[in-house]
Amino acid sequence: MRLARLLCLALPACSTLASAGSGDQDLPSSGVGPFQALSQTQVAPGDVAPYVFLGEASAYREPSVLPATSDPASPAVLMYVVAHGAQGDVIERTRADDGRSFYGDSPDLQNFPRHIPPTVLSATLAWEGYSVGGPSALRAADGAVWLYYAAAGGIGLARSGDGGRTFTKAGAPVLGLGFDVAWERTAPRAPSVAIFPDGTWHMLYASGSAIGEATSTDGVAWKRVDGDPSSPALDPVLVPSPTVDPKTLGPGERPPFDEGGVDDPLLLPRVDGTGALQVRVLYTGYGAPAGASPRPSSIGFAARYGVAGALARQAEAVYTALTPVAAPAYMQASGPAMLYAAQQNTSADPGHSFPAIIAAFDVSGGVPGPLATAPGSP
């Protein structure tokens, strides 16, 4: 009888113990957002979230990141970033072992004033003019770091055999001015290069307010490709969204975030869960044409399946903020995919802004891991 009473009490008791639910682990995702800005507890002490690499005089922007180690699970990154130099823009190098605490960031400088990010590339050739920018770093099959960059005369290439510390430039631009390409109204800029699974090299670049594509078999000799083979002209692969008359918008509707221009492509090919090649592209979408003020900007996502053709865009931006944000960089390690970009920083004074590097993470991949201290060397 005592046992029966105990059972009567125990069985309902077992049914009242709550536990956290699951069912949403490892869900499929394109891995490119939407991105959520880092919180204050997810950035290095001294930084103001979501900024992770800041220096007012340097005005850091246009980041490009590479895994810093051969461990695919490691969040450690090398970052190449454009900074104001004494005689024009240069490309500097920094590093973070946790993907967020960067060598030479302003809080790191307060502790270690000698932690100055080294300049790895500056304008030294005639075709480059006075500035270099738009870095796109990748690690080749032999381990060498190839750094594509933009300058006055087009897109150049520099290579490093010491892990990306020092670079040797190719003499001439690898993709020069497109005199015979109708849509290219400016010199090509903002390159992004990736090697596809079939071994071909692909480059996306910006010109005017659109994005074009070129291919190569060796990463040195490039040939522009047509985004729309159905038309006789050479076409870009991504153009701004058609302009929408605000009077035609319904309540709560907004005009396309990228109707003023597309820029800063970031090429991210992957083989998806079904074995298909998905060419993913993050880019800067401008809400107003060049020269407009203000000129809002956000990070957009476009993609295609297969090695060639135009890109289809996602209607909503994958990262947006109160201040303009541009030039995405991307890192996928064991945790969530990380987005780096340049965002106007007004945290100290709303009336005065300068660009700095922010970080955000893909919410579908969990949350970033623990913080580490800034490394002792770049």
Binding site: G21, G23, S30, L322
Partner: protein, 455 residues
């Protein structure tokens, strides 16, 4: 014999033409070990507490008062792109009782049945329509089921029954107030208050059983539809600043007012009609076939409808340069789900393998085929589902008149059930879909036991 064969052939034909009824834990994994082992094909062959789910009319066949208690656990191994999604197991107590009697000489019975989950009475979850989820297994089976039914047998060949099943819905209110820093959101200081209430909802079920001969019976069952609502209203009133959040200080820029109303059908159970038959082939062997029609086309997916009102006037002197103030969120367009009605066939056999004067032993088997009612997810929605083949088996022991205080019997049944969901490939029309293409599939193991004491 010819009418029996024709009847059986008709039911089999329906079964072959058909396919799932996964609307609550009982639809998905069965109720009671004997019935689960027989593939749920028991509408015309049930007389214990599980009749409250399979066919209330069967309660009228009970010989005496009996009480049952059991337990089952269903573990999901469901994955997308080869990664297990961690769908929670469905596990919990099953119990019930039947009290028969006579009213004006007519046999009647009252039955109650309950499935009480281990972890929670009910789980509510509102997901964006583009988030991949195992629509039939992730959330809707995580809930309590409780049924009360009454049955009569006006003639020896006819039983009629009906009753109610009860579940719970949620109503909630969320209030947020405080100070909000526009440029450093994580420096904000906000307070929130949640007020939630559980409300009971009920749906009816009816059943009839006709015994055309001592070897052949038919059954017809209706289960009503129900829906569980989840409504959350939120109000935010906060001072928006660009400096440290300090309440009404000089750093205040403006005042943010945000009204948010979310309305979700957290769980929708479509109405069902079951046609079943039971054929006693020999004294020791009988076979059952049920076909369930499920009104899936009326299904309302658990997608949240959001109404938002944002009021954030510019501060005196306008916004600081470089700031893009937030604007009224665009309305969310809920895309219709592609879903169609289905017929679900169940087949079950029971063999009395041992027949002694003091005990009997049973071997059981069953099969169910659930063809997914959900259409291809080529657009932004990701209601993931796959066809399901359900193979089940079980054993039972029945002790006859085991003791003087037990003039009835004592039964103990166990079951094992394997659900196999062959892998499907979801291909998106939009290459820039944020989820992209993926594969989905897996299997589910379900084990359990039920004991019954009859008086």
């Amino acid at each position: 014999m010819a009418p029996r064969v024709l009847a059986l052939a008709a039911v089999l034909a329906l079964a072959l033409a058909s396919a799932p009824a996964r609307a609550n834990p009982l639809d998905a994994f069965g109720f009671g070990s004997r019935e689960t082992a027989m593939g749920g094909a028991v509408a015309a062959d049930v007389r214990d507490f599980t009749a409250g789910y399979y066919n209330p009319a069967g309660l009228a066949l009970a010989h005496g008062f009996e009480f049952s208690v059991g337990y089952f656990r269903a573990d999901h191994s469901l994955s997308m792109n080869g990664h297990d999604n961690g769908v929670d197991p469905v596990r919990g107590l099953v119990a019930g009782g039947v009290v028969p009697g006579k009213l004006f000489g007519i046999p009647f019975a009252v039955g109650i049945g309950i499935h009480m989950p281990d972890d929670r009475l009910a789980r509510v979850r509102a997901l964006a329509q583009d988030q991949p989820r195992w629509e039939m297994y992730d959330n809707r089976n995580q809930r309590l089921w409780f049924g009360v039914n009454l049955a009569v047998s006006p003639t020896p060949w006819l039983q009629l029954g009906g009753g109610l099943t009860l579940m719970a819905a949620t109503l909630a209110q969320l209030d947020i107030s405080g100070d909000f820093d526009l440029l450093k959101p994580y420096s904000s200081s906000l307070r929130h208050q949640v007020d939630a209430n559980l409300l009971l909802v009920a749906y009816p079920q009816f059943g009839a059983r006709v015994e055309v001969s001592k070897d052949l019976a038919f059954a017809l069952v209706y289960r009503g539809q129900f829906q569980m609502d989840l409504n959350v209203a939120a109000q935010v009133h906060a001072g928006a600043a660009t400096g440290p959040a300090q309440g009404a200080t000089q750093s205040d820029l403006t005042t943010v007012g945000l009204g948010l109303q979310t309305d979700t059908i957290d769980s929708y159970l479509p109405q069902q009609v079951v046609l079943g038959t039971s054929w006693r082939i020999t004294d020791d062997l009988h076979a059952n076939v049920d076909v369930t029609w499920v009104d899936w086309s009326a299904y309302i997916p658990p997608v949240t409808r959001i109404s938002t009102q944002l009021d954030i006037p510019p501060p005196k002197g306008g916004w600081p340069s470089g700031i893009q103030p937030p604007s009224q969120p665009a309305p969310i367009v809920i895309l219709p789900i592609q879903i169609v009605d289905r017929f679900v066939p169940h087949v079950g056999v029971e063999w009395r393998a041992v027949a002694r004067s003091s005990w009997e032993g049973f071997v059981r088997g069953g099969y169910e085929y659930d063809k997914s009612p959900i259409g291809p997810q080529t657009g932004p929605t990701n209601y993931v589902d796959a066809d399901r083949h359900v193979i089940s088996t079980g054993l039972g022991v029945r002790l006859l008149h085991p003791a003087a205080v037990l003039p009835g019997d004592v039964r103990f049944d166990v079951h094992g059930q394997l659900s196999v969901l062959p892998t499907i490939t979801v291909t998106k029309e939009d290459p820039a879909d944020l989820v992209g293409n993926y594969t989905a599939g897996g299997h589910i193991w379900n084990f359990g036991a039920t004991g019954t004491v009859g008086f």
